[in-house]
Symmetry: C3
Subunit: 360 residues, 3 copies
Amino acid sequence: MRSLINILDLSVEELSELIATAKDIIAHPEAYQEKCAHKKLATLFFEPSTRTRLSFEAAMLELGGSVIGFSEASSSSASKGESMADTAKIISCYADIMAIRHPREGAPFVASQAASAPVINAGDGGHNHPTQTLADLLTISREMGRLDNLTIGLCGDLKYGRTVHSLVEAMSRYSGIKFVFISPKELKMPGFIRYNVLEKLGIPYTEVASLEEAIGSLDVLYMTRIQRERFDDPWEYERLKDSYVLDVEKMKLAKKEMCVLHPLPRVNEISVKVDEDPRAAYFRQALNGKFMRMALILKLLEEAKQNPVKPKLDLSELETDRVCQNPKCISQVEQELPQLFRCTDKAADIHRCIYCEQRA
Amino acid sequence: MRSLINILDLSVEELSELIATAKDIIAHPEAYQEKCAHKKLATLFFEPSTRTRLSFEAAMLELGGSVIGFSEASSSSASKGESMADTAKIISCYADIMAIRHPREGAPFVASQAASAPVINAGDGGHNHPTQTLADLLTISREMGRLDNLTIGLCGDLKYGRTVHSLVEAMSRYSGIKFVFISPKELKMPGFIRYNVLEKLGIPYTEVASLEEAIGSLDVLYMTRIQRERFDDPWEYERLKDSYVLDVEKMKLAKKEMCVLHPLPRVNEISVKVDEDPRAAYFRQALNGKFMRMALILKLLEEAKQNPVKPKLDLSELETDRVCQNPKCISQVEQELPQLFRCTDKAADIHRCIYCEQRA
Amino acid sequence: MRSLINILDLSVEELSELIATAKDIIAHPEAYQEKCAHKKLATLFFEPSTRTRLSFEAAMLELGGSVIGFSEASSSSASKGESMADTAKIISCYADIMAIRHPREGAPFVASQAASAPVINAGDGGHNHPTQTLADLLTISREMGRLDNLTIGLCGDLKYGRTVHSLVEAMSRYSGIKFVFISPKELKMPGFIRYNVLEKLGIPYTEVASLEEAIGSLDVLYMTRIQRERFDDPWEYERLKDSYVLDVEKMKLAKKEMCVLHPLPRVNEISVKVDEDPRAAYFRQALNGKFMRMALILKLLEEAKQNPVKPKLDLSELETDRVCQNPKCISQVEQELPQLFRCTDKAADIHRCIYCEQRA
């Protein structure tokens, strides 16, 4: 039995397999409409996220299964102080698989350690959101016909946007990938991605401040929202915000064969008029998310059936002499949860909390 | 593909057809219990309305379909600033049909323009609530055996009650209808109904202040709640409220063949003791609402299947030189939504916002 | 047609029958997976209780039925002032059976009097929670192989814990039962249980303050949470709280053949390390709750089908000359609900409100 907590839990081969299943579902939906008959998905949303929740629920229903769950913490036992681990054990009595959204980083991982059913991370704070990345990958594959030999531009808030970090990590495993990072200096791609992922793997990237200058070189443009509250200086925000808005004028500078992605919801960073452009792929991306979630649910339920045993943490590899300082880590609140760290880089002496993956 | 935004979107023939379908469902429920297998209804309730939501959900389940959705705005992406149009496009990826309740007038219409699935207006502020009127029509038809040649009394808050306005508009298309409007002077039926609907069509009506005097002449009595906050003078409210309460004493003055309707919830405007009177039809009315919603879902899904193309707004008929002043109109908040008006009466120079239908 | 409001509504024979059905469901789940096809359960939760709600929903789905409902009062018509009786009548239009959770004592009973579908009490304030007791009984039966000849320890808050009161009432009907009540003096088992149930029936019990001393004699240990706010003196709470925490050390003093129950959620009254002990039955208890709810739904739907007539209150037995003083009683707020009392003990002149069962 396996869970999906981080997009890197899946190998490139497994991603190909999920993409192939999703394409087969798109081609032959009736062949799948009873695959999960008598199976139940629990959607445990400790903070609201309508689109993600409804995408999971639609996915399970289109497989012939059914859904239970809650959509915010106030309706949940967490408000009575129940631990994540206990909730996961209880929900394992009621459902065959669960999707967990939680404001605390590492909460779905803690759940996966306690549950006797597979857990899908549906977003844990600013940490991971692997099914968004699955939607992104299927969209690039369907729009461009390939996942390699692409110049991928990421635009907007590259510092805090977990979806862009996951996408860089995932795409870095394909060949012939170049990245263009388009952002104001306040919101640049963080070092742990640039050094630990790209430079380590020898993947070329450039950093630019202007969407207008960069757009002509791109095969894929991934847009994100810039939030006013990220800037120290509000005037700086006012001065910059329009340069990161994608509009019809900027689209004229882009290649004919190109696609625009956005994790949605969009506020005003893409003009509504761009929606009619055939290169605007962000609503198709939402649809692709549903198909990838269907493929993922099928895969995890199949693996749980083949092998119900859950892989155990190898405690001998872990360190217990540190305390996590990340205020958003699940280890700050979870009852009787041991502090556990893993050395991720011996040379640089880097140790990371196994729950939230922040450095000690 | 069609949506239902306003009860007048349906012709008298279509209403007859829906009523006939509902009666067939009542007679042969098992014949319908798989009609919507593998179909999904999304219930998008941006404000709570349990009865309406559960009625839609029960309707879809009794057709063999399934349901996704949310029951209040805090659980929705709207709290992250997503536009109505974007939400409608996304939900079209997840569901085959959607029912939308929204505090802003015109929001379901905006959704229907963006969605690629049929939209049912489940109530938009004080504007429209067409499926309530469908419930009312089936109830009158079943209780009285006809929809024509009826004297219909409407009692209570006739000024702000959208359900009574829609019912007057809908019943005005049948022959032999007379209306009796029973209300305090503060809450009289507004001019746009009296002049534009009734006087234009030559339909007789009287306005009275006393339920006791009027009740004996009625075939149908439609009760509504009077809210204290509608009165400028609280003493006036205290003086009047009991005269608009239907009790066992007043029922003694009514005809033997007569029926009492109420959109529910009732607070105290109908005494609980009236419930046992066979003429009290308001709980049967709730049941009829479910059957009409079943008939409507079937009709809209069938039309979408026959013709998936959505009728487009004819922009040449519309005016763009006005701005809607209605603070509750969806156009006050929806991103990049053009202001559009339609001239509804050339002689009187009346122009109405196409979203909320208020005069410029 | 019957409802389940109080565990004592079920005879010992009926409990045996429910337990037998639950065990058959566990042995042959596929034989039950379409038993409730085309049936709907409404879960009406006027206050959140995720585990109980999801247990009911999972139960109905595993019977092939479907679910509608709400998970907190703000999403319900109650926020518009609708009475419990009206809500129950309306929901009877939409569902075949309903489970009601309500903060007001007696609310599910009022609903059962108005509804035309069976009502299950899913917890009404501090009053009753019969399906929790059903879970407890199946757990004891499965863990110990019997429901008689047991020494049952109840530990923690015995004063306010409705689950322990119901369990004592239910187990008192089996032979060879002894109770050990383990609590601080502030939270002792109340007199109405000790005198009216145990001493009347001649069932032996002891009262002790130390879990450590008592644990060795027990076949069943039922743990509950002690809440700080129950104590007049916070120092007393601090002094006592650890003595009522079950940990690995205390488990060493217990019998080999013994089981630990807890209604959950647990906060810290049972150490997480005890979970691995094979005698820790509290997560299996949650699973058993689902199976007993399945058995109960089947039984109540079958009875409603055999005999749709609802037993009426015999008003000649009831007294109308008293007013309930319990501030949490449904009769304090329900519109036009008559005050009704029943004499439960002529000799002692005890009269109880029929809704909340408090003494006049």
